[in-house]
Subunit: 427 residues, 2 copies
Amino acid sequence: MASAPTAYVVSQGEELLTGLTLDTNAWFLCRSLTEMGLVVRGVITAGDRLEEIEGALLRATTGADVVVCTGGLGPTTDDLTSEAAARAFGRPLVHDDEAMAQVQARYDAVGRAMAPSNRKQASMPTGAALLVNRQGTAPGFSIDVGQGRLYCLPGVPSEMKSMFAEIVSPDVRAFVAIDPPLRHTFRVMGQGESQLQGLLGDVPERFPGVTLGFRAQMPENHVKLVAEPATPGWDDAVALVRERLGRDCFTEDPTEELAAVIGRLLLARGHTLATAESCTGGWVAHLIVSVPGSSAWFERGWVTYSNRSKREEVGVPAAVLEEHGAVSQETARAMADGARAAAGADWGVSVTGVAGPDGGSPDKPVGTVWVAIAGPTGTRDRQLQLGARDRTMNRRFSTWLALEMLRRQLLRTPVPEAPQPGPETVP
Amino acid sequence: MASAPTAYVVSQGEELLTGLTLDTNAWFLCRSLTEMGLVVRGVITAGDRLEEIEGALLRATTGADVVVCTGGLGPTTDDLTSEAAARAFGRPLVHDDEAMAQVQARYDAVGRAMAPSNRKQASMPTGAALLVNRQGTAPGFSIDVGQGRLYCLPGVPSEMKSMFAEIVSPDVRAFVAIDPPLRHTFRVMGQGESQLQGLLGDVPERFPGVTLGFRAQMPENHVKLVAEPATPGWDDAVALVRERLGRDCFTEDPTEELAAVIGRLLLARGHTLATAESCTGGWVAHLIVSVPGSSAWFERGWVTYSNRSKREEVGVPAAVLEEHGAVSQETARAMADGARAAAGADWGVSVTGVAGPDGGSPDKPVGTVWVAIAGPTGTRDRQLQLGARDRTMNRRFSTWLALEMLRRQLLRTPVPEAPQPGPETVP
């Protein structure tokens, strides 16, 4: 890809250098620019010192076709990106009426008075083009430097991402000639990276020019194939990986989450779902409700955190809790059955476990988790031993593995010829 | 901060620039170096091109006392850090017998034959000091450059972290005099960045040497004060900011989450909590359960997503749903009251709203959310108009603002002289 246009990313913010914030903006930009077909040459992170930001902008714009800088466009005195760009490229700051009007409009929209400090946000380097921020007050700008173009976007991730998608991406496509590479992503549950390497490691040898990459996003894994445009055998390579992964691949859409896949499977069957969670504490339901339109298939959920709530809400018998404990196969099964019955849903999912850091015992150490799935053809359960990971990791793994277990059960459940109507739809 | 030693971080790896991997190594190093009292001046990420790595090492070692580089020490042809360092600092590569013995020992330990390519891992720049890697095959090295020191560590996070803790951290402490800067963080809800600038903008003028920084982590904001060690007036500056922020600051511990603060307030009062969520779909409960030990104060939660579940689980009268709708003041209040009563808890929190992207109407557009808090002295509610943000942002804001509203009510509730015992404790 010798001819591919190049890019550089600059992240600005003291909180990145003190490690308070993980720089997911640079990650997003590297991924997005790469997917567009640019070759990212580097990332520089600068703090809140003017000369550092200026140096980073100068370095990044040397030889790159596209530079995207995030952060430092806010109203406060430690927001210095505009000034740094003005100094780096000899373009003094000027007040931009259109930018000012945009900042004012954002305040009007939320019914608040604009603070005097916001005036600063309308200052831009001479000759800069305004980039409208529809979600926040900080406008962005772009300037042409040499034969490249620098885009300065705000650091708030949601604002940055939507401005990148709506403005920067189409502008870059118009500005540089890109012949994007071939890419295919498989999202996988149930196989670790070294297992996937063993399963798929021969693919690049069999299809010269096709590269194989992995990304662990625990407990998911993403398998990525990449090749230059029009590489021979591309379709066969994709088909081979698809065949080898089988049901372990839950989607080939890189943006589709596991909960959304479950929604598709439920909708196709006209089925509904209820959840009863203990250690995951609502995380399963949260992922479900994050899917737009989930009211068509998600009925209700319980966070039965206390033993009393397990009895009262989903009917776990007191004797079961007494004899086997809250973290047990019997309790998990009773929770799933109870959730399904109480909600009048087709499926019930339950999770109960010892998330840690405390609460473990010799026979039920931290990381002991039970998942159960109650469905039209019965109830299945599975014990997880998640080891000595921390509370968040234990809860995360439990959440994802409960959803995955539900997906496997749904795949075994036939799709009716005429699906049932869903339940009442609420916003 | 002229007297604090400075650091620079270099991350090496093509997978970082293509966005395949999120760079948590740089994050770890920034955090660790900052905690040790160094000021991190920047991070550079370089790919697998020799000249880029060489340039990054040269830039990073210019003026920094400590440089930590990760990645590029493996056996394959795209592992180029040793060669880049050799070229950057004019120290030709030499074979190191001790390094070779270490690589060999690792292979012996796992009972595998060493591949010829591993011989490369024993090549180091002339005059480098070997850094032993007890967990993997790639040895690290350090070299003195000018008045600073460069540490090159492998990119595998677990190996890098343990080598940093065991070798780099003590070596740095012996090598540079560290007098850590003064830092204080206030985590704030209820004030935007420009409001905070207006409220606190005069602090750096009143206390020369004290710098003021902000970080928007919507809907939270973090206010940070930083100064050189022993800056006069530091305590007064902290006290002034504390006084001005008042109850908008929910914690001065940078690592304490809002849900954990609520847990503290509930525990002090011997009170318990229940939740009933619609559009937030369990996110409130999920944040609560993410706090270790929350079983002492969190009783249970409902995700009453369907209208039927709002009636059946938390007793919202059918007439209320019919007359006012699921997203209404009346429904929110009935949900909070019902959750409190059904759980036998002291507090009930409810959220119901139109998260989007669909489901809005002229009188209840997307972003219309009602929150209610039922407590020992009555029930309060609040309507939010979150504007045209996306589903995730609407749900995120609703979740945080519900917790914040609960916190405000708790602050108005006196702490008893002898707190009640909490409920049964489950793992």
